[in-house]
């Protein structure tokens, strides 16, 4: 009985510490996702205008923004991290393919935007 209460107390302390950890990375994730969403709008405009060169530059910039907080997302939710990497990778690769496949790119942009919106909330 005593050991059980001791273990419960320890688990509570650990949970407290880890909850605090996730609270701090939350703001980092939110601001990072907001930045990515802003760049993603530019990627979409470039794709709509069939401007492959601008789309490539913007996509790389978006990836750089992602690299700054991807570890925090990965630590928080590995599945979500992988879900974001998928359309992000597809967009980066897709803007380099000539001619631009607007249909697939638009789909992937919408998919990424939806995932980022979840992080911003």
């Amino acid at each position: 009985m005593k050991i059980r209460s001791l273990m419960l107390a320890l688990v509570a302390v650990l949970a407290l510490a880890l909850t605090a950890c996730s609270a701090a990375s939350g703001t980092e994730i939110k601001s990072g996702a907001q930045k990515m969403q802003a760049i993603l709008t530019d990627v979409k405009s470039a794709v709509d205008a069939k401007d492959a060169a601008k789309a490539t530059t913007e996509a790389e910039e978006m990836h750089e923004a992602w690299e700054k907080f991807e570890d925090a997302v990965k630590a928080k939710d590995k599945d979500l991290y992988e879900k974001i990497e998928e359309p992000l990778g597809a967009i980066r690769a897709g803007v380099k393919v000539s001619p631009l496949d607007q249909k697939v790119l638009t789909e992937q942009i919408a998919k990424l935007d939806g995932l980022l919106a979840g992080l911003v909330k």
Binding site: A17, A24, S25, D71, K74, G89, K103
Partner: protein, 495 residues
């Protein structure tokens, strides 16, 4: 006996951790070699025009990659990025409708080339695990140089971001810094906070920031040449990190002995053991699941919150111990204790306190040793650890033996002062931990001194709570002293 048991537990956990490191680092190219056969199969299918089969085969490579990617990333970040880029090209080709067979084949071909380049060692070894060497101090210096250039160009946000990155990378390097110089280690942790304060305050002070960056660069640069560890380095870490935890533990044990309940010591040791175990498990999880870079600020948060939590409990223990130094109080306590056992709730608090004392720096300490393992002979590491633990054990035995011989009143007075000192230091260090994590701001006060021994740092956020604590402590001391005198006078009057 108990110290031996704890030492044995710690060694077992350490050996397990170190052997896990060895197991994990031996596999990346072998793993990728195996996974690359799946890519080869997908390529054959794509060339034969069986695109749906190629997609299914590629998907299984993708799943395999998610399992092995960390190992490759740890060995070469360039390889990791190149492979991920080629994978994205393949993924995009597969998303198109209809799928272009030749484009898919060329993507798979390029992916295979990237895989083979890694397998044959063609990529630079610039991954996370290699950063445990002095190369990573060079990385920190580069970040400082970058921040300085940005500050000189009045790019405040850029400089602040570089320093933020510096703080994230710190955990990978701090072991090297600590063993090279405790002074530099303390200075760097203090200056990181001050530098961030200069750069992120409403009116950034770029001149002071640049001066401070130069100072940090000057004291960190000589450490670049440090590439390996020796026995004394291994001993230093456990001594430095373990001494405060030991003082808390010993104070609690000595109290139980004095109170006539030495058998309840197992609660304290239970807390210590749990602290070691949780620290080790968390450290292994951080090393292999999250990555020390991502854990950087979380480690500061653990140090910060557990430090403050432990400080508040220590304040209570200090008050309690001090109240027992009063003759009247002690006699009343002994009377009560002879009829009732120590309450489970109180024992649980003592166990939690010893747990926090260990856990506060435990994860970091285990990470130090895991990081060290690749740059020190196993014999030296174990010898150093044994040496450090041995010295701690001697200190513990001396205090416990001495403690029991000291008369009751001075014993409680001295131990309450010792515990108060630790509460004072943990308060300062706890706030400092939260500042390192970026959760609390730092308002720099240049004329305040830095005293590592007291956990005193030159900013208001840490110093004000410490001052309040000091004033509260003094007031309590005076009030209790007066109350004791009145009680004694009353006792004399009735006799």
């Amino acid at each position: 006996m108990r110290i031996k048991r704890i030492a044995r537990l710690f060694l077992t956990v350490l050996l397990l951790t170190v052997s896990l490191t060895g197991l994990a680092s031996a596999t990346p190219s072998g793993d990728l070699q195996e996974a690359d056969q799946i890519v080869a199969q997908a390529l054959t299918q794509a060339k034969q025009g069986d695109l749906s089969a190629a997609k299914a085969t590629y998907d299984s490579f993708h799943e395999r990659w998610r399992i092995i990617e960390e190992g490759i990333k740890a060995e070469s970040i360039t390889a990791y990025r190149t492979i991920e880029e080629e994978m994205a090209t393949v993924a995009f080709a597969l998303l198109q409708n209809p799928v272009d067979g030749s484009q898919l084949s060329s993507g798979l071909q390029r992916l295979q080339t990237a895989n083979q380049t890694f397998i044959t060692g063609g990529f630079p070894a610039d991954g996370g695990q290699k950063q445990q060497s002095s190369g990573n101090i060079s990385g920190l210096l580069t970040l400082l140089e970058q921040a300085k250039a940005q500050a000189e160009a009045h790019d405040v946000a850029g400089a602040a971001a570089s320093i933020e990155q510096f703080r994230h990378s710190w955990l990978d390097v701090e072991g090297i810094v600590l063993t090279a110089s405790g002074q530099v280690y303390g200075d760097a942790e203090r200056d990181m906070v001050t530098l961030s304060a200069y750069l992120t305050s409403k009116q950034p002070d770029l001149t002071k920031a640049i001066t401070l960056i130069d100072q940090m660069h000057n004291y960190l640069a000589p450490l670049v040449s440090k590439t390996s560890y020796n026995v004394f380095d291994a001993a230093t870490i456990v001594l430095r990190e373990g001494l405060e935890a030991l003082l808390v533990t010993v104070a609690l044990l000595a109290f139980l002995k004095k109170a006539g309940h030495p058998e309840k010591g197992r609660w304290i040791w239970g807390g210590v053991g749990a602290g070691l175990l949780v620290s080790a498990v968390l450290a292994v999880a951080v090393k292999f699941l999250i990555g020390t870079g991502a854990f950087g600020s979380n480690n500061f948060l653990i140090m910060g919150f557990s430090g403050l939590f432990a400080a508040s409990m220590l304040i209570w223990v200090s008050y309690w111990l001090h109240s027992k130094s009063s003759l009247v109080e002690w006699q009343r306590y002994i009377r009560e204790q002879s009829t009732s056992a120590l309450a489970t709730g109180r024992l649980l608090s003592l166990a939690t306190l010893s747990f926090l004392a260990v856990f506060r720096e435990g994860t970091e300490t285990v990470l130090f040793y895991v990081g060290m393992a690749s740059s020190i002979a196993m014999k030296d590491l174990l010898l150093g650890l044994a040496l450090g633990l041995g010295i701690l054990a001697v200190i513990a035995v001396v205090i416990l033996k001495w403690g029991i011989k000291v008369p009751m009143r001075p014993f409680f007075l001295v131990s309450s002062l010792l515990v108060f000192y630790l509460a004072f230091k943990f308060t300062g260090m706890g706030v400092h931990g939260l500042q390192l994590a970026g959760l609390l701001r730092a308002t720099v006060v240049p004329y305040l001194p830095t005293v590592d021994f007291l956990g005193l740092y030159p900013n208001w956020e840490g110093t004000i709570p410490q001052l309040l604590l000091l004033m509260g402590g003094l007031a309590t001391f005076v009030w209790q002293h007066r109350r004791d005198r009145i009680a004694k006078a009353a006792l004399v009057a009735t006799q």
